[in-house]
Subunit: 339 residues, 2 copies
C-alpha cells in the first residue's frame, strides 16, 4: 500500500510544500468587482497590448508568471516545473506564454478545475523529491472563451439566467519544498462524473455532482468534517451550482455551513455587475485563490482552507453531437500548519 | 536540493515503477502496416461502432483501457490514477472515455508528446508513494484530427510531401509500484522551444529542435551517451524531423546511431502506404510504445530504451493569427533492470 494514501482518492503529503508566492492578473470587469484590492494587476485593456484576445491571454499569463517569480524571489530558471493549462483549443494560452521560459513544462487540461489539478501535481512533484520549486498556473479570458465556445462577441447573444460569466484573469502559485507555509497538506483527486446535464448554459448544475463526489470522498478519506475548515471554497460552481452542492450535502445530513463559498460567487458583485449565476473559467478560481484566499490565509483569517476547483469537460463539438457534460473536481488543502 | 534530481531537467526514480501491461488499439490503415502483429486490436471500422469519429476516439480509448486492465490483471477500481489526454479540442476523446471509470483522473495536454508526459507523471506518482498503480493513456484519430485541424475529409485536400499522417490509434500503459519490470528509471522533462517554423504541414521541422534540446539535456544530466541505449525512439518526428534531429546531433559530433528511430517512421510502410513524411498524432507513439517497443523489450531485443515523444503545441487559431509552432519533447527511460 502506497504510504501516503488515505482511502481511495486522497493523499497526505509527507513533506508538505510551502506556498512561496501567488500572483493574479485580471481584466477591467474583475477589477471593478469586490475583490479588486486583492489582485496584483488589473488591465483596463482587454487586449493586454496584443492584437488578438488569444495573444492577450498568453500575455496575461506571462505577466502573471513574472509577478509570481518576483514575489517568490526566484528567477524563472530557478523553477523546476511549470504545470499550466487553459481553456483555449490545444491550451495555446499557456503554451505560448511558456514558449520563451526556461522551465520544464507539463501541460494540463482540467477545464475550470485546472488550478487545483496543477497545484496537486506541483505539490506531489515537490513532496516526491523531484524538485525544489514548482509553479501552478492557469487563465481564462472572457473574449477568447466566448468566441471559441459560444458566439462571436459582435453577435451580442442573450444569456440565460443560469449562465456564468467567464473571468478574464490568470493566477500563478509557486510552491517550494521548504518554507514557512501556508502548506499544501492533502490532495483529493477527482473522478469524472457525468450527471446527464446537457445545458451548456448551466455549468453549475453539470459540475455540482462532481464537486459533491470529491468533497464527500475527501471527508471520508481524511475523517474530517466541514467544521475542520475555516473556509471550503469551490470554484466555479456559481450561485446555482453552489446551491445544488449544498443541497446534496444536506440530504446526507451534512451542513457545509457558512464557511462554504465559491470563487464564482466571490469575484463579481451580483447586483451591480450583471453576471447572472456568477463567474467561471479557469482564471476565476485561480485569480481568487492566488489573491483573496491566499492573503486571507496569511493574515490569519482562514488558517485552513479546502480549495476544490471544478471543471466541465465538454467541447462545442461534444455538445453539437448531443453529449451530456461530464464534470470533475479536484480538492487541495492549504494549511498554515504542516500537520 | 531535491534528492532525485540529476541536473536541470532529469530525475532518477528511487523506486522505479514497473510496467504491468501495455495495450494498443488501432484503425485499419495502421493494421495493414509493418507493426500489425504487435497491436492488440485492429478495427476495420473507422467509426468503432459509433456515430461520429469523435465518439469513435473515445470508444477506442475505452476499449484500450479495458484491454490494458485485463492484461495487467487489475480491475479499473484497482487503478489509483489515470493520466490521459488527446488532440481533440478540450481533450474530449479522453474525458468521454473516462467518464464512466471509477478512477481518479488527471487530464494532460502535450499534443503528440502526451504519452511521454502521462507516463512521466504516472511514474512520479507511484515512485512518490501516492499510489500502487497508475495508467498512462492517449489517442489520436485521423478523421477527427483532420477535420478539426485541417479540412473536412470530403474536401480531399492535397497534402505536401512534408506532411505526416495522423495515426488512428490508442495506447495505454499500466504501471505498478512493485513488479518484475520493465521499469521506468529516468524522466527528462521538456521545455517549450519555438524554433520559428510556421508551416503546419511540416511538424517534424517544428518539433526536431525540441527533441534535440531534451535529448541533449538527458545525456548531459545523466552522463549517458546514445550508446548506452539499445533503442532511442522519438515520436513523432517522421522522416524529415528525424533527419533534422540526427543532423543537429551530428553538428555536436554526436552520432545517434542505427539504434535511433522514430515511431512515425515505424508505423507505416513508406513505399506502400502513401503517408509522405510518416505517422503522427498522440496515438502514434502511444500505440508503437505499448505494442512494438514494449514487446521488443520484454523479449530481450531492447533491454534499455529511451522513449522521447514530441509535441507541436499549435492550434488552428494560433496558425491563423500568424504564430510560429512551439515544440516540446519529454523523454522516459524504460529499462529491464532497475539500475
Amino acid at each position: 500500500m502506497a504510504q501516503k494514501r488515505m482511502g481511495r482518492q486522497t493523499v497526505k503529503l509527507q513533506n508538505p510544500p510551502s506556498v512561496a508566492a501567488g500572483a493574479c492578473v485580471v481584466g477591467g470587469k474583475e477589477g471593478e468587482g469586490p475583490l479588486r484590492h486583492w489582485f496584483d494587476y488589473i488591465s483596463p485593456d482587454s487586449y493586454f497590448g496584443q492584437k488578438s484576445w488569444e495573444k492577450a491571454e498568453s500575455a496575461m499569463l506571462n505577466h502573471c508568471f513574472s509577478l509570481c517569480c518576483d514575489k517568490a524571489k526566484l528567477s524563472p530558471s530557478d523553477i523546476d516545473y511549470l504545470f499550466a493549462g487553459d481553456l483555449l483549443n490545444q491550451c495555446t494560452g499557456s503554451t505560448f506564454a511558456a514558449r520563451d521560459l526556461p522551465v520544464p513544462y507539463y501541460g494540463v487540461y482540467g477545464a475550470c478545475s485546472t488550478m487545483a489539478e496543477c497545484l496537486s501535481l506541483a505539490a506531489m512533484a515537490l513532496d516526491g523529491g523531484y524538485g525544489d520549486s514548482a509553479c501552478a498556473m492557469t487563465s481564462s479570458h472572457f473574449c477568447s472563451a466566448e468566441r471559441q465556445f459560444r458566439l462571436p462577441l459582435e453577435y451580442g447573444g442573450q444569456r440565460p439566467p443560469t449562465s456564468q460569466w467567464t473571468v478574464t484573469g490568470a493566477g500563478a502559485m509557486i510552491l517550494t519544498a521548504e518554507g514557512p507555509g501556508p502548506y499544501i497538506t492533502h490532495i483529493t483527486t477527482g473522478e469524472i462524473l457525468d450527471a446527464g446535464v446537457t445545458d451548456a448554459n448551466n455549468m453549475g448544475a453539470a459540475m455540482a455532482p462532481a464537486a459533491y463526489k470529491t468533497l464527500k470522498a475527501h471527508f471520508a478519506d481524511t475523517g474530517r468534517t466541514p467544521e475542520d475548515y475555516d473556509a471550503i471554497i469551490t470554484g466555479d460552481l456559481g450561485y446555482l451550482g453552489h446551491e445544488i452542492l449544498t443541497e446534496l450535502f444536506q440530504k446526507d445530513g451534512v451542513a457545509l455551513g457558512i464557511c462554504s463559498t465559491d470563487c464564482g460567487m466571490l469575484i463579481y458583485d451580483r447586483a451591480a455587475q450583471d453576471v447572472h449565476a456568477g463567474g467561471s473559467g479557469c482564471g476565476c478560481s485561480a485569480s481568487v485563490l492566488c489573491g483573496h484566499i491566499l492573503q486571507r490565509m496569511t493574515r490569519g483569517n482562514w488558517p485552513r482552507v479546502l480549495f476544490a476547483a471544478t471543471g466541465a469537460l465538454l467541447s462545442p463539438t461534444s455538445l453539437q453531437q448531443g453529449e451530456s457534460i461530464p464534470g470533475i473536481c479536484h480538492a487541495v488543502v492549504l494549511d498554515l500548519k504542516k500537520e
